[in-house]
Amino acid sequence: MVDLTRRFDVLVIGGGNAALCAAISARRAGASVLVLEGAPKFYRGGNTRHTRNMRCAHDAATEILTGPYTEEEFWKDLLLVTGGQTDEELARFMIHESKDILNWIVEQGVRWQPSLGGTLSLGRTNSFFLGGGRAMLNALYRTAEELGVDILYDAEVIDLVIEHGMFLSAQLKQPVGGRTEVRASTLVAAAGGFEANIEWLKQYWGEAADNFLIRGTPYNRGAILKMLLAKGVQEIGDPTQCHAVAIDARAPKFDGGIITRHDSVVFGIVVNKHAERFYDEGEDIWPKRYAIWGRLVAAQPDQIAYIIFDSTVVTSFMPTLFPPIAGATIAELAGKLELDAAALEKTITDFNAAVRPGTFDHTILDDCRTEGITPAKTHWARRIETPPYLAYPVRPGITFTYLGTRVNKQSRMLMKDGKPSANMFAAGEIMAGNVLGKGYAAGIGMTIGSVFGRVAGREAAKNARN
């Protein structure tokens, strides 16, 4: 039993990578630590349970990384994906710290493996967790428990008492045991974003948000973020920004995770419910443009689209959870997708007619392109002409949101007046917007979580002692 009458040095709210890194680093610095995870034990860890790798800078190849990835290169990649919407000082600090995280996280029991099948493009930059994100979480929880960190599940925080930027206590609500006041000298908020809170998403997206699928657990409701912003913490990040990809429309509303994704966009065309194309499917090498398709589909009527290809490319991408919908003719396929058959036939006929001869190579920006149609498909354009014709219906799959709390290099929250909070820290997705204004690079969410989690725990422990 956890003694809730005592005053903890560090209270960590959240239960994912950032929360556990904070809890472990605070405990290792000598603090007493309580972790409040709002989800039941199985669903502990928020989005971390669906992750698989982390992007860390390193100056030389390692056992599992194929080559160096310097701080400068990491910084350039970040600049590219965010279009400059990042806090350079914080970002460079994070990138520098990420180097040491490669080893530190192993000391906490996490194990690496080489990049997984179908992800060779990340073999140099990203370290993969052996067994995936839940294996990583399990290791962190074991370590935290062995160190003597107290952990409660189904532990919903319903209110925070904050006075003049100083955290005093939290109101805890448990299924058994009811309400309890939890006191601690410092707070680390690592409770994620609000991607599972459809009502909140609707504030920015309107009714369209009803058609969004949420890739993580239903527990990422942003309650803590909302409380902090309402109690004087400075906000950062565009609330409409989120990491969203196109995922199978047949996926469950919540927690479908990685396996509902589709890698097939570059091999065919993508049409909306009017059977019309709306974006260049061959704009760039696939993983780089992976993250734009969620937003593109979100902007289409009814937030639905269809990836359409033919039988010649079926084995060009990873096997999918849901089988493609097939039709012997374009019209039959259109019927199954409930699209207008004539419109789909016209779109595909026009597309096929516009395809120029070229040499197909999906690993480079090849010369297979269209001419004379809008939008063009600028690479990997090949005729769709070999039945059966196949399709995947896709919807926007929201991974995480970017609205967050402003922090400094100590991971300490800044208040609306710009002053650092006396005893409140934030780590992970709840403050990701500090470095990730928009866009996404694979594995960077975990970098943010581990680096700022570790820093927040260390600083909170130091703060609690003073």
């Binding site: 194990r111 493996q113 099948g117 052996l130 067994g131 074991r142 927690d255 096997p319 999918t320």
Partner: protein, 367 residues
């Protein structure tokens, strides 16, 4: 469509897993899965037998129950594995032995022991069974050596033939040419992988048993059991060679090779099975096929009885208890031999073949 409900479920899971692949570093099952986009019955039986049931993929899976995708690979493959044993059993008429295996094995063991006791009593003069016999040839006063060798040789031969026929059926089902084990490199790799139980380690940390803290205990106890069994078998072989080549008759002195091998092996076969049994009882039921508990327990107990009766015979061979103990020991060993093709013993055979095939697939991929 698949032949059975469990293969249907295994196919569903492999489709989920093949679109995830987070577990590919944990063992051989997932890399073997990744070499395929669709799964035949044979493929699934191959994957089922490749699985060592370490449990890591369950503990690590974000989609295990209560998640709606309901992914439980260790349990599903355990059920498929057990069903594959029955499916490949020879002769077909005995496949039913797998259904209530615990009962079948206990009955055969009891009957076998009883047959030896009554046999000894019936064939010999009264008093021989409970008499004190010492010196070379002491055992053979109860049963002539040639009769013993013939009976046990025949039982072992039958077991080997039945196992070989089952193996042939398995080879065919997984689409491998009969005799694929002539590929020396793959064979050697599989011997290594099986010998060190490479895949019973949860990807390095140990396997998952009663909770989410991995340990190496099952692997350790399995080593005790397997190498104990191997030493006991070696002891028997050396004894046979002594008898026919050197004309040296059992019982042998405590320092002699058959006794040393048998004693060490016997100790392994006491410690190993007891350990395995206790781990089995503690194991989280969510990871195991409970229908199989009878079969597993029966095999573990048979191994345990083999060693404990052998060791008892060694300790009390110069007393009046020798006759009954010999009958007991021979009864248990005889039952072990004839039930080998119809119990948990076959797991080692099929898993080894699956490992050979995996080694071969890996080499072919690399070339």
């Amino acid at each position: 469509m698949h032949g059975t409900r469990i293969l249907q479920e295994a196919d569903r899971l492999m489709t989920v897993c093949n679109s995830c692949r987070y577990c590919e570093g944990l063992c051989a099952v997932f890399p073997a899965m990744e070499m395929r986009r669709a799964f035949s019955d044979g493929d699934l039986n191959y994957l089922a037998n490749l699985c060592h049931a370490c449990g890591a993929c369950y503990t690590d899976c974000q989609f295990s129950p209560p998640h709606e995708f309901n992914v439980n690979v260790p349990k599903t493959l355990a059920i498929a594995r057990a069903e594959s044993y029955a499916a490949y059993a020879w002769p077909r008429a005995f496949a039913g032995a797998f259904a209530r295996n615990g009962l079948v094995i206990s009955l055969i063991a009891a009957l076998s022991v009883a047959a030896f006791i009554f046999g000894f009593a019936a064939i010999n003069d009264p008093g021989v069974l409970t008499g004190i016999h010492t010196g070379p040839g002491a055992f053979y006063r109860l049963m002539p050596h040639n009769a013993m060798a013939l009976l046990f040789g025949a039982a072992l031969l039958y077991a080997i033939v039945a196992l070989a026929m089952g193996l042939r059926a398995f080879w065919r089902a997984i689409g491998e040419p009969v005799g694929m084990t002539t590929d020396a490199k793959s064979l050697l790799q599989a011997v290594r992988d099986a010998g060190e139980l490479r895949y019973l380690d949860g990807g390095g940390v140990g396997c998952f048993n009663e909770d989410d803290h991995p340990t190496d205990r099952r692997k350790l106890y399995h080593h005790f059991t397997f190498y104990g069994f191997a030493l006991c078998f070696a002891a028997t072989c050396v004894g046979t060679l002594y008898h026919y080549l050197l004309a040296r008759e059992a019982p042998y002195a405590w320092w002699d090779l058959p006794v040393v091998l048998g004693t060490l092996g016997g100790i392994g076969l006491v410690v190993g099975p007891l350990g395995l049994l206790s781990e089995k009882w503690k194991r989280d039921r969510v990871l195991v096929d409970e229908q199989q508990m009878g079969m597993d327990t029966a095999f573990i107990l048979m191994l345990f009885l083999t060693s404990i009766t052998g060791l008892a015979l060694l300790l009390w061979r110069e007393t009046a208890a020798m006759g009954p103990l010999l009958a007991l020991h021979l009864g248990v060993v005889f039952a072990l031999f004839i039930t080998m093709p119809y119990g948990k013993f076959v797991h080692g055979i099929y898993r080894f073949v699956a490992l050979v095939r995996y080694a071969r697939e890996r080499r072919m991929m690399a070339e």
